[in-house]
């Protein structure tokens, strides 16, 4: 006879004990379970079940929010990673010889010029600096094209020169 789980209890027991003993044990189990069937446990009240459903709903809503927050955090982290990666990339590109001029050009124009109201005086300064930048730019390009035999040290000299010009500008300002 198969029980409610679809298992043949006697056959299963028969693997461990003799057939007669298996039959007795199966009967004991079946009769014991019949007692349980005759004495059902109380049912949970409808209010309890409704309360549980409400709790599950609240938990679901919380999980959805948490999932949404995680997605936003992931997007922010991804964007931050991209910005950092690009920043590192730009910095490493700046360190390459070809970008020396642009780097110094950017830092070369002092903030005093942007903040100054004296346009005429600033224009004069800017014109002289623009000419100076152009000259240095040409020298750098010439160096990069291999027109100098001692490229590294000459670049250092140029850098020093640019710093001096920047310093002198501040003195003028």
């Amino acid at each position: 006879m198969k029980d409610r789980q679809g298992e043949n209890l006697r056959e299963l027991l028969g693997r461990f004990v003799e057939a007669e003993r298996a039959r007795e044990m199966a009967e004991d189990i079946e009769r014991g379970e019949q007692i349980l069937g005759r004495h059902p446990a109380p049912e949970p009240s409808l209010d309890v079940l409704l309360g549980i459903k409400a709790q599950m709903g609240a938990r679901l809503a919380y999980q959805r929010k948490r999932h949404h927050f995680r997605q936003i955090a992931l997007k922010i982290a991804t964007a931050a990673a991209v910005i950092i990666f690009v920043g590192i990339g730009i910095r490493s590109l700046d360190r390459q010889p070809g970008n020396v001029v642009e780097h110094f050009t950017a830092g070369f124009i002092p903030t005093a010029i942007w903040e100054s109201d004296n346009i005429a005086a600033d224009d004069l300064h800017l014109a002289s600096f623009a000419a100076e930048i152009e000259r240095i730019e040409n020298e750098v390009k010439a160096l990069l094209l291999g027109e100098s035999s001692n490229g590294e040290s000459t670049l250092d000299e140029l850098e020093t020169e640019l710093r001096e010009i920047e310093g002198s500008f501040w003195e003028k300002g």
Partner: protein, 176 residues
């Protein structure tokens, strides 16, 4: 009782965070799980708490259900919740209270009417050791096969069969 197709639909819905499907799951398993907890604790209020904990945990864990017998998975969680409850220091005290009440019930047993059979079974169940009682309840309420129960309890099937037989035979002797 839901067919396997219906159950598959409900579980699929639950995995997609469908509150209605979770509600159906409560309708399907609420009574059986409550019975399981009630027969192990003998307390209505406590059984309600454990049932609530089970279903809330179900919401959290449904994503980890990878198929197989759903009852096995569900009752494994139920069993873990019951053991967590037993492990709680404060809860041990409550369990002792339950035992005390059970003993009091034994004293007054002779005064009970025929309609109090539910309590009588609870008293007799209380006389079995905790492991055997849990096995019997797991078998009765989960409706799992013995192989699945043995697997769930991480013990050989022969051991499960032997414990179940001894427990149910003793229960019958006490009840008759």
């Amino acid at each position: 009782m839901a067919t396997s197709d219906e159950l598959a639909r409900i579980i699929s819905g639950c995995k997609n965070d469908d509150a209605e499907c979770f509600s159906e799951l409560v309708d399907e398993y609420g009574s059986r799980c409550y019975g399981y907890f009630y027969r192990l604790t003998g307390k209505n209020e406590l059984s309600e708490d454990l049932l609530s904990e089970l279903f809330v945990r179900l919401v959290e864990k449904i994503g980890s259900y990878k198929g197989g017998a759903f009852e096995s998975w569900l009752f494994k969680i139920a069993s873990n919740i019951f053991h967590d409850y037993l492990r709680g220091k404060q809860r041990w005290k409550k369990l002792l209270d339950v035992r005390r009440q059970e003993l009091e019930a034994v004293i007054t047993e002779s005064k009970r009417s025929e309609s109090d059979k539910i309590d009588r079974l609870q008293v007799q169940l209380g006389k079995l050791d905790a492991g055997t009682r849990e096995l019997i309840m797991l078998r009765f309420y989960s409706q799992l096969g013995l192989r699945e129960i043995a697997e769930l309890r991480s013990e050989p099937i022969g051991t499960t069969l032997s414990k179940l037989h001894r427990g149910l035979k003793r229960l019958r002797e006490m009840m008759e």
